[in-house]
């Protein structure tokens, strides 16, 4: 077998029901068409998880995949994608994790692990090079996600890289996350719930093999230039000092900071949640993902009611959704709530939304103290946050409906609350309130996994070309939806490009050096577009009525103008939303119901998918 440069060369399949593991050679077709990481996840989940599969049943598959850049000598080849049918949305979902897992998986000899079935007892997956075992671990069931990582590190050694779930994952809360390296999470889409449904508490990996590359001297040259450019960048220092926590002040200044369940986008108390306060009040140590000069991870210490805890964070998203969106008063309070979510195994973005939604329902009288079990669920209360988070993780009391996400909780509680259940496709909205940013609004509406910012973080485009401009916004969203997820396919962090301006040209030069393949950057973008359409096809295949109705923002954003702050009075109109969607679908070659056409799928090399959907009568 010829060496597949940039890859470990095999996929590990583990049937958790039987404990049987087998490594299969990585197929050239898969690599050529789908690159790695998220691309592998999308392809394998589309192919192997048929319509109607219960996301929390043994028929769902969890794909853990690195990319060709993971573990290789370049800045921050650190990203691992977790993909499965999402219990939050019922659609394809993926979420990626930084830290040190991706490279380790490849050093052990695997580009991806496909987890199938359900272990008969709580277990963890042990991987050390060719040795693969499903090991029972009843003792760890019920233990916090970080404590579980510590227990396994104590047992196996520090060189093992470990991904875990907390009680929320065990209990299959639909926004349970996968936790790794203390404070790194594959947070979105409930990948932790899928792990929990498989009785899988953790994955522990150690590898001793090298990742082959096509041209080591070319790689050293390009990577050397990249590391030099980063070291010389004057903006590096503030990233090293504050990491993503610095974004809070900026986001507030532009009227984008989610505040009190997205009623507002300006938080009068934002100074207390700033990156400076993180650094001065709670910071202990800088903490990096693999081979990353930025080290945006911030190891912090927080105390609450006499308990002192260490955690990684809070970064911007957590500060936005737990902090301003729940009206908390200090960065230390946010950090403590962050720690609780991490141990419980709750995605801080969705958990922040769920608690803020509860607080708004409580303050409006839609739910009462009788419903909350006595909790005074008011904005600003850390105690309320912690109690509600615990109930969600345990799926008890008001935590039961909330554990299925704000869309489900709104359906249960009624009272018009669906208007301010801030989600798309069943996934809660992340950290950019977008009434004053139409392209960012469209990015959330059309993000393939639900309301997440990372596919097209276009708020800077709105600022650059005009907050009220609609013209051309859809084109920017489409462009970014191809560029940004490409990083998730390659298994490399995108912050060095996004935040420090490292030119994309470097990544284009890395690709042939690492893989020996002659694809241009445009070729890679076409593959990214293929993946985008395959994910859309998953939804179209899944549900006869999937389409335009799934791409709608909550009513709050087009009925309630922003009440105060720098963007007071602004909103996106219903007409704006329809126009943005029409333009977006047209640019994508989808029909006005948001379904890819046969022609588009064929153009992208997805003729077999087109034939399948055509035979089902889903597309034309």
């Amino acid at each position: 077998m010829r060496t597949m440069h940039g890859y470990a060369g095999s996929i590990l399949r583990v049937d958790l029901s039987t404990g049987v593991a087998s490594a299969q050679p990585l197929a050239e077709d898969l690599v050529n068409a789908y690159i790695g990481g998220r691309g592998f996840g999308a392809y394998l989940v589309y192919r192997e998880v048929p319509p109607g599969t219960d996301p929390l049943g043994p028929g769902n598959k969890l794909v853990v995949a690195a990319g060709p850049f993971s573990g290789v000598f370049l800045p921050s080849g650190s990203k691992t994608s977790f993909s499965a049918k999402s219990p939050a949305t019922g659609l394809y979902g993926d979420s990626n994790i930084g830290g040190h897992l991706a490279g380790e998986l490849k050093y052990a000899g695997y580009d991806a692990v496909v987890l199938e079935g359900r272990a008969p007892v709580p277990s963890y997956l042990f991987i050390e090079d060719d040795k693969v075992e499903v090991r029972p671990c009843e003792k760890l069931w019920g233990i916090g996600a970080i404590k579980t990582e510590k227990a396994l590190k104590d047992e196996l050694g520090d060189e093992f890289q470990i991904a875990t779930i907390g009680p929320a994952g065990e209990n299959m809360v639909v926004f349970a996350c996968v936790n790794h390296d203390i404070g790194r999470q594959a947070g979105r889409c409930g990948m932790g719930a899928v792990m929990g449904s498989k009785n899988l508490k953790a994955i522990a990996v150690r590898g001793t093999k090298g990742v082959p590359v096509a041209d080591m001297s070319a790689l050293r040259k390009v990577a050397g230039e990249m590391f030099s450019a980063l070291a010389a960048n004057p903006a590096l220092k503030v990233w090293q000092d504050q990491g993503l926590a610095q974004v809070t002040t900026w986001s507030n200044s532009i009227g984008a900071l989610p505040t009190r369940n997205f009623r507002q986008n300006f938080y009068e108390n934002a100074d207390a949640l700033s990156g400076e306060r993180m650094r001065s009040d709670i910071h202990v140590r800088d903490k990096a993902c693999f081979a990353c000069p930025m080290a945006t991870g911030k190891y912090c210490k927080a105390s609450h009611r006499g308990e002192s805890v260490f955690l990684e964070g809070p970064e911007y998203e957590t500060t936005a959704l737990i902090g301003s969106n729940c009206g908390l008063g200090s960065i230390e309070e946010v950090a403590y709530a962050n720690y609780m979510c991490d141990e419980l195994g709750l995605d801080t973005i969705s958990a922040g939304n769920a608690v803020a939604f509860t607080m708004e329902c409580f303050e409006r009288g839609i739910i009462t103290k009788e419903d909350t079990g006595g909790i005074e669920a008011r904005f600003g209360s850390l105690d309320a946050f912690v109690e509600i988070a615990k109930l969600i993780a345990a799926r008890q009391g008001i935590g039961a409906p909330l554990s299925r996400g704000v869309r489900a909780a709104a359906a249960a509680w009624g009272g018009g609350s669906e208007d301010f259940a801030i989600q798309v496709k069943g996934l809660e909205w992340s950290g950019y309130e977008s009434r004053g940013a139409p392209s960012m609004m469209l990015a959330y509406m059309t993000c393939d996994i639900g309301a997440h910012h990372n596919r097209a973080w276009s708020v800077t485009h709105d600022i650059a070309v005009g907050r009220n401009v609609i013209e051309g916004k859809a084109a920017k969203v489409v462009e970014l939806q191809h560029v940004r997820p490409l990083f998730d396919c390659l298994g490399v962090c995108r912050l060095q490009w996004v935040e420090l301006g490292l030119p994309l040209e470097y990544y284009a030069r890395l690709y042939p050096a690492v893989t020996g393949r002659d694809d241009t950057w445009e070729d890679l973008l076409l593959k990214s577009e293929r993946i985008w359409n395959l994910v859309r096809a998953f939804g179209v295949r899944e549900r006869a009525d999937f389409g335009r109705a799934d791409d709608q923002p909550p009513r709050r954003f087009y009925t309630e103008p922003v009440p105060d702050g720098p963007l007071a009075g602004s909103r996106v109109t219903r007409e704006d939303i329809d126009r943005l969607l029409d333009e977006y679908y047209d640019l994508r070659g989808w029909d006005r119901d948001g379904r890819p056409t046969v022609k588009t799928l064929e153009r992208l090399g997805l003729a077999d998918v087109a034939a399948e959907l055509l035979a089902m009568g889903r597309i034309s």
Partner: protein
């Protein structure tokens, strides 16, 4: 030898650079340096690397380890990979690897210090960051 451990972020670029430089591989286990996370116990990272003290040379039963202009080097042809030096090293800075027939240790090439984004390893080679 004083490393500036307070500045270490645990990125392990030093391990990766070492394997790329000395073995032409992307393989942080095939390296003469290790970053160890002590976050759970001490809220910090540790770096384990040879300080060229020569204890290994003293204990080597076959004379495969010698001091060469201040750098302790292992002669791969003479070494029997018995592991006595690994056990004797006061810093735990000799590493075995399943694909390498002798212990791996720092040869003071200075590449890790050149790439370390925080200058943690400057003392290793007296070098500065890669960029100027």
């Amino acid at each position: 030898m004083e490393l500036d451990l307070d500045r270490c972020t645990g990125c392990r670029l030093c391990q990766l650079v070492c394997s790329v430089t000395n073995f032409s591989e992307n393989n942080p286990k095939k390296a003469g340096i290790r970053v160890v996370s002590k976050l759970f116990t001490d809220a910090r990272y540790d770096v384990i690397v040879c300080d060229q003290c020569g204890t290994c040379a003293d204990v080597c039963p076959v004379g495969a380890i010698n001091m060469d202009e201040g750098v302790v080097r292992i002669d791969a042809d003479t070494c029997t990979n018995c592991g006595v030096c690994i056990d004797a090293c006061p810093n735990g800075a000799l590493f075995s690897h399943p694909e390498v027939a002798h212990p791996i240790k720092c040869v003071a090439c200075g590449e890790c210090a050149k790439y370390c984004p925080r200058g943690v390893l400057d003392a290793l080679a007296g070098l500065r960051k890669v960029a100027s």
